[in-house]
Assembly symmetry: C2
Homo-oligomer: 379 residues x 2
């Protein structure tokens, strides 16, 4: 058998994403109804002249011009007259059709039409789109930019868009600014801050979390904490990995801990009160990829948007092995729709991740060149 | 012939996107080199004990524990001794291998290994990843979050991420807050502000631009203007569509005007000094879709990122006609990978856009049910 299965307890990624989505509250959104007929008046759908269709091709004296937004009551169209009209302008009284500029000529203040106009030609009739009171969007519809435009169109208030706040803190006493050979710098903090920013959050870097349960508990309960806390490290099985037990002691709801993904096995998500803690693994590639998978879901849900889909599809240009029992995210260069696997040294290999365009999803057993795979962009 | 071709001068979308990308300056980015060997010392790749492999399975007294970041010089491993070690910790002097916890037992302060250790087992050797001075990222590499992490790892400064500023202004005298039947509200302003915000920009709503060349010229040259100005309306062929000529009079470089896309034909992009003006069409669906296509390209380029790819692929659940000579973006609901076309009334139909999940790309001639199409998410 090519693959072992020594982690039957690990949660599949899809299930972890679903739990996160369902555990978070979406903002309540009311239905949107038309405040008036849409359009509110018969409108020109083209630039041209507005006229009485019953008078056929007879020449018509041009009374003037109506631009979008101008009051059409300034004119009255009768036999022998017409009004020059721009797209979006309301039809003047008496007119029932538009003849577009392409189908007429003008001479000595008169319009000569070259077609037989029919009533309603190039007119968007009042109420064509919606009747006053009609349902335009149901309650709970996603709070997209398009929906914001629609709300504005019907006169509902549109709140200025805000950014969700995300705190970013690394854990680990080994992180120092000027490291000895046995120490390292904190690369996760700046990386996760940049990633959360790129994903649309308002980010605040927090002091590193200490490898000490009491201090950790205090930091997790900081009164000025953001709705989302991203941590990295402290979620594995090591003696200094206190985050899971400290969260449990604080009464947090553990949404999941340990998922079926490489890298990312120790990934943790918990609700501490109404605050989401995404406990990312400490290795930088693992921290990056799990933030890229889970943070967009949390941000979208809390903002009332649709579940995000960060995946792309591409063709694998070379074989990638996966001897493990978890799906693997493998860094690749993307060239002309082909994923070229890079020689990654694993979850500590930030160099290769930074050189990659995307990470390919490789099921246990591996994949051959030519396989269609989904991949996660490196942003 | 099913399709006419009366607009041979219209620019294809791909060419318009390419021109925009190439006209904008990317920030200069220096190469990234390793400041020291990576890892800087031999490191444990697993939790276990660090020992001399030459002593085989002989029992060893445990001298103590090394956590990641602790100075390994506190210990010296010799025959008959070992050190408990956590992943990431530097190897103590004298040790040349790790035996993982899963392959040993402990009794009376001694470790009993159940395998024959070999030199280098579960050790990440110094310099495995990179040698001091080695090139990690070339100059001009994308300024991704992963690259920010790598810069931090090698001790380079990482600037706090900032958002690009985008001004949003609608044009048109017909836009009022409390409209008569011949007037409309400004839906584009709130919609484009929400969209630019969702795409990562710092957005400022500006007063509506007047239908007057002199006032328009003054507004375009506002000294406190953002690097990107999104306008909507004023780019068509109507008598009040002054934006193209005013920009030309001001000496702007017109990158393109009029593209081969429905909706979006009058789309304009221009550089006025070092300021980008994206002149979106005035119809709301057209304004939305063209902002969704062009703004991400401008934001990515100016921030030193890769060209964005907003497209998804899905299967068309029903036929969509396209009798025109331009590719059509048609609003659809997306359910289980299938695009269900909505009965859109065109570029003024914000209701249907707000109900849609994505807009499908329909080439001239139309597409049948079952076709694989690319689509643009509605966000």
């Amino acid at each position: 058998m090519a693959m072992s299965c020594d982690h039957p307890d690990l949660l599949p990624l899809e299930e972890a994403l679903r739990r996160l989505w369902e555990a978070l509250p979406a903002p309540a959104t009311a239905e949107v109804r038309a405040d008036r007929d849409d359009p509110a008046a018969d409108r020109a759908a083209m630039d041209g002249v507005a006229l009485r269709s019953a008078d056929g091709r007879a020449p018509r004296r041009i009374l003037g011009t109506l631009f979008a937004g101008e009051d059409p009551a300034a004119f009255r169209v009768a036999t022998g007259t017409c009004v020059r009209i721009m797209t979006g302008a309301a039809l003047p009284p008496g007119a029932d059709a538009i003849v577009p500029v392409e189908q007429l000529s003008e001479a000595e203040g008169a319009a000569l039409v070259q077609v037989d106009p029919k009533s309603g030609d190039h007119v968007r009739p009042r109420g064509e789109q919606a009747r006053a009171g009609g349902l335009l969007l149901p309650a709970g519809a996603p709070l997209t930019a398009a929906a914001a435009g629609l709300r504005a169109q019907v006169g509902l208030p549109v709140a200025a868009p805000v950014r969700l706040r995300v705190d970013v803190a690394s854990t680990g006493d080994e992180l120092v600014a000027d490291p000895a050979p046995h120490q390292i710098r904190d690369s996760n903090g700046p990386m996760l801050a940049a990633l959360a920013h790129a994903l649309g959050a308002e980010v605040r870097r927090r002091p590193s979390l200490p490898d000490d349960p009491e201090a950790l508990a205090k930091a997790l309960q900081a009164p000025d904490g953001a709705p989302i806390l991203l941590t990295s490290g402290g979620v594995s099985m090591g003696e200094h990995d206190h985050l899971p037990s400290v969260l449990a002691d604080l009464g947090a709801t553990i949404l999941f801990h340990r998922i079926r993904l490489k890298p990312g096995k120790p990934m943790l998500a918990a609700l501490l009160g109404d605050r989401l803690v995404l406990g990312l693994p400490g290795n930088p590639v693992s921290a990056y990829l799990n933030a890229m998978l889970f943070l967009p879901v949390a941000l979208a849900r809390l903002q009332g948007l649709r579940p995000p889909d960060p995946w792309r599809t591409a063709t694998l240009a070379a074989r990638v092995k996966n001897k493990g029992d978890r799906p693997l995210l493998h860094p690749c260069r993307l060239r002309d729709g082909e994923l070229h696997p890079l020689p990654s040294k694993g979850s500590g290999d930030l160099v290769t991740l930074a050189q990659a365009d995307a990470c390919a999803w490789i099921e246990p057993g591996g994949l051959e060149a030519g396989a269609k795979v989904r991949c996660l962009p490196v942003v």
